[in-house]
Amino acid sequence: MSAAFTPTRAEAAIETTAAWLLGVLWILPLAYAVWTAFHPSEFSARFVLTAPLTLENFAKAWDAAPFARYFFNSFALVTMVLAAQLVLCTLAAYAFARFEFWGKDAAFLLVLVQLMIMPDVLIVENYTTMARLGILDSIPAIGLPYMASAFGIFLLRQTFKSVPRELDEAARVEGASPLQVLVKVYVPLARPTYLAFGLVSVSHHWNNFLWPLIVTNSVTSRPVTVGLQVFSSGDQGIDWSIITAATLMTSAPLLIGFLLFQRQFVQSFMRAGIR
């Protein structure tokens, strides 16, 4: 609300209490998971302050499944997808922002189709395509459908359009080719957009589950999300302490990154949301 409207003291007190209650309620499931993961299993749902802290659940989880490999796979996946997205979306966005070519409007509409119909819902046909390409059960198969991102193209196009044309023309007068102009003028000016898109993309692909579950079938290609599911639905019995430790472990890179760079995360997601 605007600063002009200062609530009365009573109103402010009620609102603050309500906000804090909701905040506590919101963090509770995660706090509960942290408690369970860091305590021996007999304390998994017994909240005694004297309960001993332990890292054993993490050690057991780490030993029970090839998590190191899963982490490596996820890392390779998000790097590959992001690198491809940055190149492809930059080129396409540049075309849409600064070139007049035949069929431009129709092409742009065709790009926007992917905002509605994401690869997540085209699982049946994309699986057939991957089988035909002979790359089932590989990391590129998980990433390929997402590499041309309509969201990224749209976001970068908006940013490139806001670059003053004079800068562009000045560089051209000095004899720069279109690609040199792109690299020297547009890309540096779009740095905040790249950061925003990068964070959104990395968290999306680190967390993605259904499509990787379908196309992967072995330890050498599974990302952590699928690895976690295989681990926790396997012959673990139901030791919730270990499963919760594994769950926190797989979420840790993003969670820690978010806690450290909270402001950048929130601002990036905000920037990505303003269209």
Partner: protein, 291 residues
């Protein structure tokens, strides 16, 4: 630049992205429609044309109808609540409240967690006897209940998880919009003697309409796109009580390996998404008034 060279450069720049989009978005849409008129190919032989047979199977498929109804309730349960919560959260976090940085973090954290991790955490919360929910209800003398295991409560459990995961994400969009509202509007309204509630209803809320529309579209898409938590928590059960449309497609396509029928089911999902797109397009002119 020479005449015509802009056309060539433009298309060359667009080509790599366009090729991948065509291969993994446009082609699959067309192929889904095409394959929905054929039987599932078996043993390397070409699949025979079966006309509308797959769609006839669909009309007679009780699990399909159950999934549609479930998906409808899932959407009706998650969308209004998560959007309303998102708006309230954003108003609070945008104000001068004590500890708002902490609150913003608390609300936003579920967004950065993988849905599958979220599902695991909540599954333990719902577990009979051991879970926190059971501990809480037993304090109030409520009899033990298998929340995820009974048809009457499983869908609600899944809805709660989705709300928890999404509200903070939508909050961010409202927060961005709120920060773009000029403070002079509030000062002017205050000078005119408007109350706080009036200012919100008549000025802030209308200015947030484009954001609400944007969030709404995203929420609708998500309610048909996200089924990770179903796979982890219930596998569509008990007795299909939590089966959603995409989950049914996943089961038909990758548990029963009936790709032709899965294609027909996918057409329904694509039709729904197309409807959302058309709806957004129709409402799009309204946005312009506010920009």
């Amino acid at each position: 630049m020479k005449r015509g060279s802009a056309h060539v450069t433009g298309w060359l720049l667009l080509l790599p992205a366009a090729a991948l989009l065509a291969l993994f978005t446009h082609f699959p849409v067309a192929a889904t429609l095409w394959h929905s008129f054929f039987a599932t190919p078996k043993g390397g032989r070409a699949a025979p044309f079966v006309g509308l047979d797959n769609y006839r199977v669909m009309v007679a498929d009780e699990v399909f109808w159950r999934s549609m109804v479930n998906n409808l309730w899932f959407a009706l349960g998650t969308i209004p609540v998560s959007i309303a919560l998102a708006l309230i959260m954003a108003l609070w976090v945008n104000g001068k409240m004590r500890g708002r940085t902490w609150l913003r973090m608390a609300f936003f954290t579920p967004t950065v967690l993988p849905m599958i991790a979220v599902a695991n955490i909540w599954m333990f919360f719902y577990t009979p006897q051991y879970g926190l929910l059971e501990k809480l209800t037993s304090l109030f003398g409520i009899a033990s209940h298998n929340w995820l295991g009974s048809e009457s409560t499983a869908l609600i459990c899944v809805i709660v998880v989705a709300i928890w995961k999404e509200a903070g994400f939508f909050m961010i969009f409202y927060l961005a919009a709120l920060q773009q509202i000029s403070p002079s509007l509030g000062e002017a309204a205050a000078l005119e003697g408007a109350s706080r509630g009036y200012y919100f209803r008549r000025i802030v809320f209308p200015l947030l309409m484009p954001t609400t529309l944007f969030v709404l579209v995203n929420a609708v898409i998500n309610s048909f796109r996200l089924v990770d938590h179903i796979v982890v928590m219930t596998k569509g059960g008990p007795n299909n009580a939590t089966s959603l449309l995409l989950f049914h497609i996943y089961q038909v396509g990758f548990n029963f390996w009936d790709s032709a029928y899965a294609a027909a089911l996918s057409m329904v999902l694509l039709a729904i998404l197309a409807l959302v797109a058309v709806g957004q397009f129709v409402f799009l002119d309204k946005r312009i008034h506010y920009q």
